[in-house]
């Protein structure tokens, strides 16, 4: 499993990588996961719906991440955008 984080001016970076079935590596993944959530990031796991379409699942706890997930993607939490910023 890889924990990725979106980063301005860079694209994604790998925060941690490991096998969830290896306790030591799972501990490192959990620590990295908590660090990002504590820093205010949102976490999403790319998944597939029952219909076969791709979608994402937002997770708030490492225990919610499917054990077979390949990636967890962290991105800054959503905020209401500034009015008149984009036209």
């Amino acid at each position: 499993m890889k924990l990725l984080r979106m980063k301005p001016g860079h694209g994604e970076i790998v925060l941690a990588e490991g096998d969830v079935d290896v306790p030591e590596q799972e501990r490192e993944l959990i620590e990295a996961f908590r660090r990002e959530l504590d820093a205010g990031m949102w976490a999403a796991v790319p998944t597939q719906s029952r219909g076969g379409r791709r979608e994402a699942e937002l997770v708030k706890d490492f225990g919610d991440v499917p054990r077979d997930a390949e990636r967890v993607i962290f991105f800054p939490r959503a905020a209401g955008g500034a009015p008149g910023a984009t036209r």
């Binding site: 001016g9 790319p46 979608e55 994402a56 993607i73 991105f75 800054p76 209401g80 955008g81 984009t86």
Partner: protein
């Protein structure tokens, strides 16, 4: 007399210099360090088109790896993504029966909700994903990362994202004429895709 005064003045100046020299030296070192740090920070946060381009390329690769092939083709060809609303979770059925509503996701623009059956624009949802750590002086994600963040948030927890966003009537920030043109392009694109053999998506 004047010789004695002159000598005393010189000795005084030398003594004062000796006393203040360590402080002057420290202050000048601090100033130099502050100047170097400022120069480095300015260098790092300076807009670098090459760095931004590489970031966007990484972001596009990540986006492509997360969404369906037809969605990727849509983004590549049209520059935006369509996400069906909560009740349109089955795109095959939505395409046939008409989904109640859908969203258009543009990079760094509000999400636009509309009615696919009529093309009526419903709302703009102004939302951003600012990274306050500003690693290169900007809090702005690359374009495709912004699209992916919106896509993940919408497909993962539509209600949460929409409740976070600032909702406005159409036309507040995104030109409605542009959106209507995009919907017409999307319609034509959908027709073109439908006419292709199943499973074939034009290569990037």
């Amino acid at each position: 007399m004047s010789l004695a005064l002159g000598t005393a003045a010189i000795i005084l100046v030398v003594l004062l210099w000796e006393l203040t020299r360590p402080k002057v030296k420290d202050a000048s070192a601090r100033l130099r360090l502050a100047w170097i740090n400022r120069w480095r920070a300015a260098g790092q946060s300076r807009y670098d088109p090459g760095r931004e381009l590489r970031a966007e390329q990484r972001a596009r690769a990540l986006l492509r790896s997360c969404i369906d092939d037809d969605d990727w083709a849509m983004y590549r060809d049209l520059g935006f993504l369509r996400v069906w609303g909560r009740l349109g979770e089955r795109p095959d059925r939505a395409a046939r029966d008409g989904a109640p509503y859908a969203y258009l996701i543009y990079p760094h623009k509000p999400i636009v909700a509309y009615v696919p059956a009529t093309g009526e624009l419903l709302n703009e949802y102004c939302v951003a994903f600012p990274d306050d750590s500003r690693p290169y002086g900007s809090s702005r994600l690359p374009d495709s990362d912004d699209v992916l963040a919106k896509w993940m948030a919408l497909t993962g927890d539509e209600r949460r994202l929409i409740s976070t966003a600032n909702m406005h009537l159409p036309g507040r920030q995104v030109d409605p004429d542009m959106v209507r043109r995009d919907l017409a392009r999307l319609l034509a694109w959908d027709r073109e895709q439908a006419s292709r053999p199943a499973g074939s998506v034009r290569a990037a």
